[in-house]
């Protein structure tokens, strides 16, 4: 079977034509780097996405965060629920780790921005 994917690993967004059988990739064409090939393989078996969102701080203000690795796409809304129930500490700074283990996936979530800086 053939399918065309738009790779989402970087802003270039290569159009990759993949030939596959069930979840085995037979060939890829159109990617400009190796990550594109890995992306297509993942899309077939376990699509993943980097999640960026905001978390409320103890004092009520909003800070921005990101998952340090992509998480399974099907768990994005669950991850949102988990992060929305957290409260970040008042002194949180960009680069700090908010949680080491999101949803038991062993993936950390880092602070990317705070209002004062």
């Amino acid at each position: 079977m053939k399918r065309t994917y738009i790779c989402t690993v970087c802003p270039v967004g290569c159009e990759i034509e993949a030939e596959y059988e069930n979840d085995t990739v037979l060939s890829v064409k159109g990617n400009t780097c190796k990550r594109g090939e890995q992306y297509v393989k993942a899309e077939l078996t376990n699509p993943v996405r980097t999640l960026t969102t905001t978390v409320r701080r103890e004092d009520g203000k909003i800070i921005s965060v990101r998952t340090d690795e992509p998480i399974p796409r099907r768990l994005m809304l669950d991850a949102m629920a988990a992060l929305n129930s957290m409260r970040a500490p008042k002194g949180a700074k960009p680069g700090d780790i908010l949680t080491q283990d999101l949803l038991g996936l062993n993936i950390s979530v880092s602070v990317t921005g705070v209002p004062e800086i």
Partner: protein
Amino acid sequence: MIKECDILIVGGGPAGLAAACAAYDEGCKNIIVAEREATSGGILKQCIHPGFGLHAFGKELTGPEYANIYKEMIKERGITVLDGTFVISVSGTRAVLQSKNGVCEVKAKAVILAMGCRERPRGAINVPGTRPSGIYTAGAAQRLVNIDGYMPGKRAVILGSGDIGLIMARRMTLEGAKVEAVLEILPYSGGLARNIEQCLNDFGIPLYLSHTVTEIHGKERLTGVTVAEVDGDRRPVPGTERFIECDTLLLSVGLIPENELTLGAGIELDRITGGATVDENRMTSENGVFSCGNVLHVHDLVDHVSEEAKIAGTAAAAYASGAPFPESKIRVKAGYGIRYTVPQRISGATDTSIYMRVTENRKNAKITAYAGELPIAELKVPRAAPGEMIRLKLKCGRIPEGTEEITVRMEEPAV
């Protein structure tokens, strides 16, 4: 109260911060950055999604992370950033600033305009109907969600499939809203293919091309919109109207460079870009006044904003130190297939780059710069699109003596 400095930079967003660092590194130490918000970083503060810095730093950063790199650089250099400070007028290289400390005049040797853009609002696109609450520009909604922590509504329709609209489709959905549809008046989306995938397809949000909103309904709060297909002239096709129930309408229908100050200073603007006309140093029609970033022309990647700001900052520092500037008398014109070029004039004294956008999608586009009939620069672009700025390198050695005008155009496709 009068302050004196070498360079005044209007705006502490990505362009202003990068220009300040470049000017400082070029030897100019007396710099003031005027930033109207409580902290610098500009629009990047609310762009919490990744996609920044791939070219500049080889890493995919979120907006705040990209901004933080420059804020660190500003701190390291000890450059003065006046927060909560609004520039209310510019005249030559003088300006009037306003803050909670009152009004003050600044006398500078050079000024860099880096004010960024505003969003096109509903009034400008004349959507008929009532005027209920629940209608926001996409960027305003982004600020409400990502900075203030408010949801603009629960059930949204988004008009415009540019990146801001697509990003907000995802953001609203992640925070629990139902995004009913994204509408795009053109037959193609202006956003990155990657965003169609990650922001719409991932969530099953439909994209309706060649569609627009023809009526807004609701008394106090939006209750829904009428949408219709449009024809080749972007006019609604009668009989295709449909009602979509929603309480929120996000408008992602264009960014407009914010050049009120530029106009007030009597500086020449380019009708197509909406920004000032500049030379290869990004100097405007007013000596000593430079412009860079989105206020000059709307960029796709912040990495390019930083590059452009570096050009302007470096040049402004040279100007402020009294270095001689060659006159830029060679006009650069946009020919067939090219919407605009920046810069609009060059000196021809140094190698430089011309930035441009094409007017239509074209595979295997060939772009050529001509001095009269003579080709002086060429570039092949495999997938040229209006949404992706193109850079054409120009070697000054190829420009014949006495050239008055250079035209950049897309070659007609081979038949």
